[in-house]
């Protein structure tokens, strides 16, 4: 039932009066058999957290240690802070152009990060700042990249949609284009017997791109260790999923590929499902489609206020009843894993870290002009020269290498 309301927030928002018992993360239904003295805490998910297509189930009972819980909390707070800082920098016109924030969707990045190995691959779309951070790029390098500065994680040459890190094959600005690329990465992993797998991510909007289905077919045909992750935030830009997709059961849209729908606002559920998916792929079962049902609080991009195609009440409802950070916080407090002050301290540290990163990024200069000509071809293999705007404007590679 909870998941059903997830899929139709526009309607539920108007009707549902949030009450403590209806809250998604209420642990009142969770068995209280955690070892109070020990480090390990046990939780039980409501059944509605998952739905299955030709696979499953994911265990509803889950253990997490104090450190794991606090790590996930910290990561989500950092991402939110990072996105808030980006929002402010955008409004101050220090970040220009196209910028897509993941505020509200932090549990997806943080939960997946907690489940996978360092050498597993991720490739995603343009809402990529959080993944870049968790995959090891510094907050400073992300903010610098957003501002087009030299210390940016892509040397300031990419911007918001073009961020990369260890085994993170990037954000991508072309809707759906990264999905077959992800299958290709998985093909290489299988071919090279690397013992790793790939999460190829896309949104509910991109789920309708033809190349997604081409990737599905090849991944299943060749049994690739690829988990297709549909980050379903209910809106492809300004169009609700219901208006764009014949079936919004994205986890079933792989047809012959098994799938799981996950409550993507619960970081623990994301972690458990991602673990399950990872093991599935590594066990040689082939691909899996995982749908993370989530919600973005902001607009699609900075030029979209995000309130013309959905009500403010709906956003407020999701924020107050489904927020992933609040949800985890409630669990942490309820189990006494940390107290309010300790969490506040973590919040404050995240803020300080990001503020520091912003200050440092602002100090970073813009890339050198010669970067205009680098990274187009591999060094040493460039054409003799590149032609420029006017006939006599040439960039000679040989000369620049002297």
């Amino acid at each position: 039932m909870l998941t059903a309301s997830f899929l139709r927030p526009a309607r539920s928002a108007l009707r549902v009066v949030p009450s403590p018992s209806a809250r998604l993360f209420s642990t009142s239904r969770v068995a209280r058999y955690a070892d109070e003295a020990g480090d390990k805490h046990s939780f039980t998910f409501p059944e509605s957290h998952f739905a299955y297509h030709k696979c499953g189930p994911v265990s509803l009972d889950v253990d997490a240690t104090k450190n794991e819980m606090l790590d996930m909390y910290k990561n989500m707070v950092l991402i939110r802070r990072l996105e808030t800082a980006s929002d402010q920098l955008y409004k101050a016109k220090m970040i220009r152009g196209f910028c897509h924030l993941s505020t509200g969707q932090e549990a997806v990045a943080a939960g997946m990060h907690a489940a996978i190995a360092k050498d597993d691959a991720i490739i995603t779309a343009y809402r990529c700042h959080g993944f870049t951070l968790l995959r090891g790029a510094s907050a400073m390098s992300i903010i610098a990249e957003l501002m087009g500065r030299r210390d940016g994680c892509s040397q300031g040459k990419g911007g918001s949609m073009h961020m990369f890190a260890h085994e993170f094959y990037g954000g991508n600005g072309i809707v759906g284009a990264q999905v077959p690329i992800g299958a290709g990465i998985a093909l290489a992993q299988k071919y090279l017997e690397k013992g790793t797998m790939t999460f190829a991510m896309y949104g509910d909007g991109a789920a309708n791109q033809g190349q997604v289905f081409e990737a599905f077919n090849m991944a299943k045909l060749w049994n690739l260790p690829c988990v297709f992750v549909c980050e379903n935030n209910n809106y492809g830009m300004g169009t609700s999923a219901l208006r764009a997709s014949a079936s919004t059961k994205y986890y079933t849209r792989g047809d012959y590929i098994p799938g799981i729908r996950v409550n993507g606002m619960d970081v623990l559920a994301v972690r458990e499902a991602s673990k399950y998916a990872r093991e599935w792929a590594l066990a040689g079962n082939g691909p899996l489609v995982m749908e993370m049902v989530t919600y973005r609080y902001g607009g699609h991009s900075m030029s979209d206020p995000g309130t013309t195609y959905r009500t403010r009440e709906e956003i407020q409802h999701m924020r107050s009843t489904n927020d992933p950070i609040t949800g985890l916080k409630e669990r942490i407090l309820e189990r006494g894993i940390a107290n309010e002050d300790e969490l506040k301290k973590m919040d404050k540290e995240a803020r300080t870290d990001i503020d520091k990163a912003v200050a440092e990024a602002k100090e970073s200069p813009e890339p050198d002009l010669k970067e205009l000509f680098t990274d187009i071809y591999t060094v040493g293999n460039e054409p003799r020269f590149l032609r420029g705007t006017a006939p006599d404007e040439l960039h000679h590679y040989a000369k620049s290498q002297l």
């Binding site: 152009g97 492809g236 602002k362 002009l369 705007t389 006017a390 006599d392």
Partner: protein, 395 residues
Amino acid sequence: MFARKSSPLFRALRLARPSTLRYRSYASASGTPPPAEGFMPSVATSAFMNNTADQVFRNPELKAFASSSTKKMNLFQAVNEAMDVALATDDKAVVFGEDVGFGGVFRCTMGLQEKYGASRVFNTPLTEQGLVGFGIGMAAVGHTAIAEIQFADYVFPAFDQIVNEAAKYRYRSGNQFDCGGLTIRMPCMAVGHGGHYHSQSPEAYFAHTPGIKVVVPRSPIQAKGLLLAAIRDPNPVIVMEPKILYRAAVEQVPEGDYTLPLGKAEVLKQGKDVTVVGWGSQLYVLETAIAMLEKEIPGISVELIDLRSVLPWDVETIEKSVNKTGRLVIAHEAPVTSGFGAEIAATIQERCFLRLEAPVQRVAGWDIPFPLIFEKFYVPSAIRCVKGIKKALNY
């Protein structure tokens, strides 16, 4: 005449201080950044903007419509009007694309769904290949399909549908089928901060495809007239709208129904010393360049031509002009190699070889991916255009 080394004009040119192109390093943290919707200071003050109805109807192409009134509007409003007229006059016309139901990201379809209903103005899923395919299918059964690709940079998933399906439908069926009712609109060119995927000018890719037409309007009047012509043209037409002009370009636009000819260039400014050709927002850069040049070299006379249609393109008008001036400069934002300037240059040297006083000059984008932070260094700016024109004059 200009080549004669004894001419005073020539000497003035030689004496004129060469405009050196110096790379500046922008102090990014300080200073006022340009407005978010893009920055083209020359558009608002351009002589090519028609501010009065008199001016509008002095244009011979619009004389026939002189009885209609005009209304001040920007380019996105003009595009909106064109589609409004198309929907009102043709009950088989439909408008669709990603988010067009709400007006589209550039507001071009604002109010159309309210006016004509969700069955005629509708959103599609995010599937460029799919939506162009649907458009071809609709057009094949006689509908007037007006599709929007959200950015020209996103057209490539639909490249196959356009190149192999739309362009060849008539030919490969021996004229039994065609998709002439299809029009594909897409915002193109730089906007100041678009980066890799919101700035490109892919006109040359499509100019290589017989069977389609490609149009790039420069102003609200042009956009409305050319878009309506494109919609009614019995061939599939791609209309690339320079996105920076959506708000920046404002002029008096004839109300009601009118079209402008496809495949015809327009001489914007008569001249005798050199022919300069551009399209879309580059024309305003060229206008600035010509003003700079006129200041520097009093008496210089530059002919400026808006190509308007990239495919088919108006060889005759350019040829006639070059036969008059003996010199040709082409400026476009897309990279220079295999940009559409290459085709113009090749054709003109073929036709005007003995008349040319200088090699045809191309001032275009660098042969690099469209950069984010260094857009200003990438684009064929006014200073670079001045340089290119001077090179043609000085040869």
